[in-house]
C-alpha cells in the first residue's frame, strides 16, 4: 500500500483536526458517517467529542455492529479521549445504556482528571514516538484504571495510564490533533500501513 485511506468517525467531535493531522502524516483522510463509507477505509480514527453523544448516534444510524466487526477483524483504529472510551471493553461509570465498541482490554474512568477547570496541558512521553515528549492536551480527560494481559501501556501521566495499545488498536486520553505535532498520527499511519 502506498498511501493509506483513513476514515475519521464524523458523528460528532473534533473531526476536522484529525483530518488535517492525518493528511500531514501522509495519509488520505475522509469523514465516515455511514456503514458503506466505513467499508472503504483501511483504518479509522474515533475523535474527541462527547462519548455519550457519539455512542448514541452510532447506535441510531446502525454503525455499532459494522464498527465492531471491522475492529474484531483487525482494522487499525485510533481513539482520542471520547474515542479512547469507545474503544474500552469496559467503562467504570457508564451512563445508563452507554455502549462502547470495545477492542482494547481495559477499564476506563470517564472525566477522571476532573471538569473543565482541571483540564490541562503537560508533556507526555509516548512509547514508539521518537524525538522527545509530545504535547499532551487533556480536556475533561478520562484515564485508564487497569489493562488486561493483551494490552500494553504506551504512556502515563502522574501515575495514571493515558495511552494504551492492543494489536492494531491505539488509544490516548489526550488530544494530539489539537497540537501542531503529528507524530502520534504518524505512528498510527504506520500501523495502518503495516496491517495492509
Amino acid at each position: 500500500m502506498t498511501t493509506p485511506l483513513i476514515g475519521v468517525l464524523a458523528l460528532q467531535g473534533d473531526v476536522r483536526e484529525h483530518l488535517i493531522a492525518l493528511a500531514s502524516a501522509d495519509a488520505v483522510a475522509r469523514p465516515v458517517r455511514r456503514p458503506e463509507e466505513l467499508a472503504e477505509v483501511d483504518g479509522l480514527v474515533i475523535p474527541g467529542g462527547e462519548s455519550t453523544t457519539i455512542s448514541k448516534l452510532a447506535e441510531l444510524f446502525g454503525l455499532m455492529e459494522p464498527l465492531r466487526e471491522r475492529i474484531r477483524a483487525g482494522m487499525p483504529v485510533y481513539g482520542t479521549c471520547a474515542g479512547l472510551i469507545m474503544l474500552a471493553d469496559k467503562i467504570l461509570d457508564p451512563r445508563s445504556g452507554q455502549e462502547t465498541l470495545g477492542g482494547i482490554d481495559m477499564i476506563v474512568r470517564r472525566n477522571a482528571f476532573g471538569r473543565q477547570n482541571e483540564s490541562f496541558e503537560a508533556a507526555v512521553e509516548v512509547a514508539g514516538v521518537e524525538g522527545g515528549p509530545v504535547e499532551g492536551v487533556f480536556i475533561r480527560a478520562p484515564w485508564v484504571e487497569s489493562i488486561g494481559a493483551r494490552a500494553e501501556v504506551v504512556a502515563e501521566h502522574d501515575g495514571h495510564i493515558v495511552a494504551v495499545r492492543q494489536g492494531n488498536a491505539l488509544a490516548t486520553s489526550f488530544h494530539p490533533e489539537l497540537t501542531g505535532d503529528h507524530r502520534v498520527h504518524a505512528l498510527f499511519v504506520d500501523m495502518v500501513r503495516a496491517a495492509a
Partner: protein, 302 residues
C-alpha cells in the same frame, strides 16, 4: 495568542485547553435546561452539553424584569444529574457572576445578552479565568472584540426566545461574508480593515490567513426545528445552541433527539425529513420584525 510550547509541569486554563474544549463540542447540539430532569432528557437525546438557566429565553421575554445568573443550587443539581459538560450564563460585564460560576465547577460560561447587561461599556476580562467563555456576536468585528477579551468560542446571536431563525441566519451570514471578504485582502488592506472592524490587527490578520475564526463558531437564537439546525450547519455553523425551541415544544425528548440527528446529518435531506416526522407542536414563535428595539437582545453587547 494560543500557547505554542508545552510546559513541563501541568498547566490549566491555557488558551489551547479552553479553545480545545469547544472543538470537542463540534457537530453537536447544546440545549437550554432549567432543571435536572430536563438536563437528563437532553443528555439522553444526545446533547453534547447543557446550558443551565432559570428561565428559557421565551419565558424571560414573557416575564420581563431583570434576568440574572441562576441559583447555584439549581446549577449544582444539574451538574450532579448529567455527565456531559454544563454551561451557565453570566450577565455581560458581571465578572462576579462569572467568578461564582467558575467556583461552582461549570465547564463553560456564556457571557450572554439574553440576561440583562450589568455593564453597558465593558464586557468581562475573560483571560482572568481558568474556565472558558462563549460569547455572542452579530458580525465579525464583534466576534473579534470578544476573542480579544478572551472568549474561547463564539456563537452567532440570532434572536433568543423567538423560535424564529431569521436573525440567526442574518448574523451567521454576516460573519461568514466578512471572513470571506478578509480572505481576499492583501497585507496593505488589513490595517484599514482592522480599523473598520474595530478589532485588533493581529486577530484580523489571523482570520485572513485561516479563512475562519481562530475559535469554534456555533449558531444560536431561534433554532426550533431539525431543518433549522441543519440550515445553520449548511451555512457554516460548527454546531448549534437550542434554547426555548426544545422545552417549549409539545414533545421535548423527541424534538431534542430529532435536532441532534439533523445536526449530524445536516447535508442529508432524507434523514432530516425522517427526523422531522410527527414531532408534535413546535414552539409558537415570534415575528422578529414586530419586536420593539428594546426587546431585541442581539443589540445588547458592543
Amino acid at each position: 495568542m494560543s500557547s505554542t510550547s508545552t510546559p513541563q509541569s501541568p498547566e490549566t486554563g491555557t488558551a489551547r485547553v479552553k479553545r480545545g474544549m469547544a472543538e470537542q463540542l463540534k457537530g453537536g447540539v447544546i440545549m437550554d435546561v432549567v432543571n435536572a430532569e430536563q438536563a437528563k432528557i437532553a443528555e439522553d437525546a444526545g446533547a453534547v452539553a447543557v446550558m443551565a438557566l432559570e428561565r428559557v429565553p421565551a419565558d424571560i421575554r414573557k416575564d420581563g424584569g431583570v434576568a440574572r445568573m441562576s441559583d447555584p443550587n439549581m446549577i449544582e443539581e444539574i451538574i450532579e444529574a448529567v455527565s456531559i459538560p454544563v454551561m451557565a450564563k453570566s450577565r455581560i460585564g458581571h465578572f462576579v457572576e462569572a467568578q461564582v460560576l467558575q467556583s461552582l465547577g461549570v465547564d463553560y460560561i456564556d457571557e450572554s445578552e439574553v440576561l440583562t447587561p450589568a455593564d453597558e461599556v465593558n464586557h468581562s476580562d475573560k483571560w482572568a479565568f481558568t474556565i472558558p467563555f462563549v460569547c455572542g456576536a452579530t458580525n465579525l468585528g464583534e466576534a473579534l472584540r470578544r476573542i480579544a477579551e478572551g472568549a474561547a468560542m463564539i456563537r452567532s446571536k440570532g434572536e433568543a426566545g423567538t423560535g424564529n431563525v431569521v436573525e440567526a441566519v442574518r448574523h451567521l451570514r454576516q460573519i461568514k461574508n466578512e471572513i470571506a471578504k478578509l480572505r481576499g485582502f492583501d497585507n496593505n488592506e488589513l490595517y484599514a480593515a482592522a480599523k473598520e472592524l474595530r478589532a485588533p490587527y493581529e486577530l484580523v490578520k489571523e482570520v485572513s490567513e485561516l479563512g475562519k475564526l481562530p475559535v469554534v463558531l456555533f449558531s444560536a437564537g431561534g433554532v426550533a426545528t431539525p431543518a433549522d439546525a441543519a440550515l445553520m450547519r449548511q451555512l457554516g455553523a460548527e454546531g448549534v445552541f437550542v434554547g426555548s425551541g426544545i422545552f417549549k415544544s409539545g414533545d421535548p425528548a423527541k424534538r431534542a433527539a430529532a435536532i441532534v440527528k439533523a445536526t449530524t446529518f445536516y447535508d442529508d435531506p432524507k434523514i432530516i425529513a425522517d427526523a422531522s416526522r410527527n414531532l408534535g407542536e413546535a414552539m409558537v414563535g415570534i415575528n422578529c420584525d414586530t419586536l420593539p428595539e428594546a426587546e431585541r437582545y442581539a443589540n445588547r453587547g458592543w
